[in-house]
């Protein structure tokens, strides 16, 4: 008891300093959570959260009964999983390759250049992509034409659309990932490389046996965090690039919710889907966290 009061006397200013942040978190992160109620309501704006009638699981039922729901979920997971995998492999490879570069300025310039697209919005990029991928005048199809390949309508063909989404997303974001992995690389003890060299390991062996294991914790951390995105296939990107002929392969949960929830003003329904997505994400993150601990013996928290 005595110890506690002494500690309190000494540390109370520190606790007080936490207060502003705590209040903000409460107001902006926890208070809005009450809005989850909307998922079980037929939400009427003027009546608000407390006045709108409760309709139980009707919104979820509507989602399950939606005729194309299987297709929509499959598209979402297919595109999202490919994005997660490619979004892991590409930046790691680039980071390792960059790390092998001798000239510091080449490394820095390259790093900055690939980082730039991360700051562009999809609204802008979609306009550029439509031009680049155009079958009649796009540069990509003109290059393919040199090799005798017939023009491909990448954005209008169900066989191509998902891959275009994955590749363009990786192109936009891999610079950002590369920076994270490069940071992880600087943390590796240089003496390990010296030891490996003495043991007769070449460049490639060094990468395999020193660099990769050294990066493992960060890789697992990034993977675990990304697995929560398994139902986020990238609304902004797909919404700006899809069109009716590719609904079959392009319609994802978020675009569907946009058309249903915002365009038809079904806010309760949109909230229900959002809630469902959060629950699924939470489950995936929890599972991957446990797996990371069990298999790689690595704790994030």
């Amino acid at each position: 008891m005595n110890v506690l009061t002494r500690m309190w006397k000494r540390e109370w200013p520190l606790h007080m300093m936490l207060l502003p942040g705590l209040i903000l978190v409460l107001i902006f992160c926890y208070y809005p959570m009450a809005g989850i109620m909307m998922a079980f309501q037929k939400y009427i704006p003027n009546k608000g959260l407390l006045g709108s009638p409760f309709i139980g699981m009707r919104n979820f039922q509507l989602l399950i009964e939606y005729p194309d729901i299987g297709r929509v979920f499959l598209n979402t997971i297919y595109i999202a999983v490919m994005k997660i995998i490619a979004g892991l492999i590409v930046p790691i490879t680039i980071a390792i390759l960059l790390n092998e570069l001798r000239k510091e300025w080449v490394k820095r310039t390259f790093q900055t250049l690939v980082y730039l697209p991360h700051f562009l919005s999809w609204v802008l990029l979609s306009g550029i992509l439509v031009d680049i991928l155009s079958p009649s005048s796009g540069i990509l199809n003109q290059v393919l034409g040199i090799f005798g390949i017939k023009p491909i309508f990448f954005l209008g063909d169900n066989a191509w659309f998902p891959y275009v989404m994955v590749i363009s997303d990786v192109w936009k974001e891999f610079g950002f990932g590369t920076i994270v992995y490069l940071a992880a690389l600087t943390g590796i003890n240089p003496s390990l490389y010296e030891a490996a060299e003495i043991d007769g390991a070449g460049r490639f062996k060094q990468i395999l046996n020193v660099t990769l294991p050294g990066m493992m914790p960060i890789i697992i951390l990034m993977l675990t965090l990304n697995i929560g995105n398994v139902l986020n296939a990238g609304f902004e990107q797909i919404f700006n690039l899809y069109s009716p002929p590719v609904y079959e392969s392009a319609d994802i949960i978020d675009t569907f919710v946009y058309r249903m929830g915002v365009q038809q003003a079904q806010f309760g329904f949109a909230t229900a889907v959002g809630l469902l997505k959060s629950i699924v994400s939470f489950i995936f993150i929890s599972v991957s966290y446990v797996l990371a601990y069990r298999i790689a013996n690595y704790r994030i928290f």
Binding site: M17, L24, L155, G156, V262
Partner: protein, 557 residues
């Protein structure tokens, strides 16, 4: 020791400030909405002559060009309204055309609506049900001038009736003349060059499209037959759409029409649509349609028109205002266009698909302190917009501080605009412009159009090229008298609120429809897939919706 802990304390304090500052940006993002609210709340009941405030939301427009130093916050138009009728206009927010509708929905959802706003027909009913908007029966009756009342009931009161719910006037119809037809626009210089006849039937259209494609009169190396953009069936697509094309095959886009037995049926699943889609598929196979139309918006597709790749397009009467971007270059007319009525695929005349003449309403928030201010805005607009000889002050409202027409479209700044429910432009204008006789003009609109057309004809302003193509002797509206006389138009028979099944299923039905229409046009599936779509449409809720719509119809006959 003491010193050390103190410095540590300072560091921590700074850190905690930094953390809260990060969170603080969210707080700031929420703020802008508030000042407007406070201002309206602090207002007390006004005495005579006191300036009252009306808040609204505005839609920015690429055609609206502000004078130096002016903006949506401060401009000559708002100032003039404040001076003339003592109403101060403020904007809660401004959004561009593409986001306005969504943003408005969010504004309604968050129950933070301005005093005055323009909403869709379905929203009018929702807002009335949710008790968010004011019953303006009395306010209108007391404050609207006789002139205003007469103006808004020119059609016998039909449009005002659609704004009345349970005997209460819930909004002011954003009225316009419902007889807005679409037309076919063709490069007439190319017709002459290739010695082709004018388009009288859909077969002629095919012949012309094919000739434009194979003979490439524009010399671009990449010609197509017909310009089509990515949302061709939407009513918002005024140029490069396909609604008019459907009409030529006696097919219509998402409207409710009577079948032989007098019941309402949806036009999207009628066999005529299949014929139209088959024709479009044939055109696509022959390379007459830009294969990338599905990803190009109107402006992008219209570049093909500006750059001489395409010489055929369907569009509303104002289409020439779009075409002028390519037709007039460096002070010279480089493209000749002609406007024709929509041809028909068989001998029967084409019926133009038209709306009710009102699909939007100005509503007043229940929280509004000064609903009478809105009615004053209405009175003023009707006077200003319809006078044949505007005063200097009235010119400011129409054209901005310079008081003369310079193409900056300042009329878009007036927060409340209603149009004439009837017009006889089609009868008067072609005659007046043809014979250069200004004496037969009857309205301010006609006078403005006549003056613009004359500027082009006597050579003072070549950029007014578009006006004669709309209003001149062979312009778009010159076809109207015949269409009106023979009743060659079709109006949607359903104007009720969305039915329960519509709310749940309209999205999937529209998705399926767009998907199959596009795939057929783009020759990805056989045209017979249309029959499968019809069966699916019925199964996925279409039949239920039809039943509900017919129940509504029976009670509104």
């Amino acid at each position: 020791m003491r010193r050390k802990s103190k410095s540590l304390l300072i560091v921590l304090f700074v850190l905690s400030m930094a953390l809260t500052a990060c969170g603080g940006t969210k707080e700031e993002a929420q703020k802008p909405a508030e000042p407007a609210k406070e201002q309206t709340q602090t207002q007390e009941t006004p005495k005579e002559n006191e300036v009252i405030e009306v808040s609204t939301v505005a839609q920015s427009d690429p055609y609206l060009k502000f004078d130096e130093g002016e903006s949506f916050d401060k401009n000559a138009v708002y100032d003039q309204y404040e001076k003339d009728i003592g109403v101060k206009i403020t904007n809660k927010w401004v959004a561009d055309v593409t986001q306005f509708k969504e943003k408005l929905k969010m504004t309604i959802a968050s129950n933070d609506i301005p005093d005055l706003m323009l909403v869709e027909a379905t929203q009018l009913k929702e807002l009335a049900e949710a008790d968010m908007i004011m019953d303006i029966t009395d306010v209108y009756d007391k404050n609207a001038t006789d002139n205003t009342k007469k103006f808004l009931t020119m059609d016998g009161g039909m449009q005002m009736k659609t704004a009345t719910i349970d005997g209460k006037l819930m909004g002011i119809p954003s009225s316009y003349n419902p007889y807005n037809f679409q037309y076919l626009y063709v490069r007439t210089d190319w017709l002459k060059k290739l010695n082709l006849p004018e388009p009288k039937t859909m077969q002629d259209v095919m012949t012309i499209a094919e000739a434009f494609k194979t003979k490439d009169p524009g010399g671009t190396g990449k010609p197509y037959g017909l310009a089509v953009s990515k949302e061709p069936f939407k009513i918002d697509t005024g140029v490069t759409g396909l609604r008019a094309f459907l009409n030529g095959y006696h097919a219509y886009e998402n409207m409710w029409m009577e079948d032989a037995s007098g019941n309402l049926v949806n036009s999207d699943i009628q066999p005529q649509v299949k014929d139209a889609l088959k024709a479009l598929q044939d055109m696509f196979k022959k390379g007459l349609i830009d294969p990338e139309f599905a990803v190009k918006d109107t402006e992008k597709e219209a570049e093909l028109l500006y750059n001489n790749n395409v010489g055929l397009v369907f569009g509303a009467s104002w289409t020439p205002a779009q075409l002028v971007k390519g037709a007039v270059k460096d002070g010279k007319v480089v493209q000749e266009w002609g406007a024709y009525p929509i041809p028909s695929a068989d001998g029967k005349p084409t019926l133009n698909q038209i709306g009710l003449g009102v699909d939007q309403y100005y509503v007043i928030s229940k929280q509004a302190k000064h609903p009478e201010g809105v009615i004053r805005l209405l009175n003023e607009w009707i006077v200003v917009d319809n006078t044949m000889t505007p005063t200097d002050d009235q010119k400011t409202i129409l054209f901005g501080k310079d008081k003369k027409e310079k193409g900056s479209n300042y009329w878009l700044l007036s927060p409340l605009r209603v149009g004439k429910q009837l017009d006889n432009n089609g009868e008067i204008l072609p005659k007046a412009i043809g014979t250069k006789d200004a004496s037969i003009l009857q309205t301010a609109d006609q006078k403005g159009r006549y003056e613009r057309a004359m500027k082009f004809i006597d050579g003072t302003d070549i950029n007014m090229w578009w006006e004669p193509l709309i209003s001149g002797p062979n312009g778009a509206v010159s076809h109207n008298p015949k269409i009106l006389q023979n009743k060659e138009y079709l109006q949607d028979k359903f104007y009720g609120a969305a039915t329960p099944t519509m709310v749940d299923r309209l999205e999937i039905l529209k998705k399926k429809r767009d998907e199959i229409y596009f795939k057929i046009i783009m020759n990805q599936v056989s045209v017979d897939e249309f029959d499968k779509f019809v069966a699916e449409w019925k199964k996925l809720g279409g039949d239920d919706i039809t039943k509900e719509v017919n129940e509504w119809y029976a009670s509104h006959k």
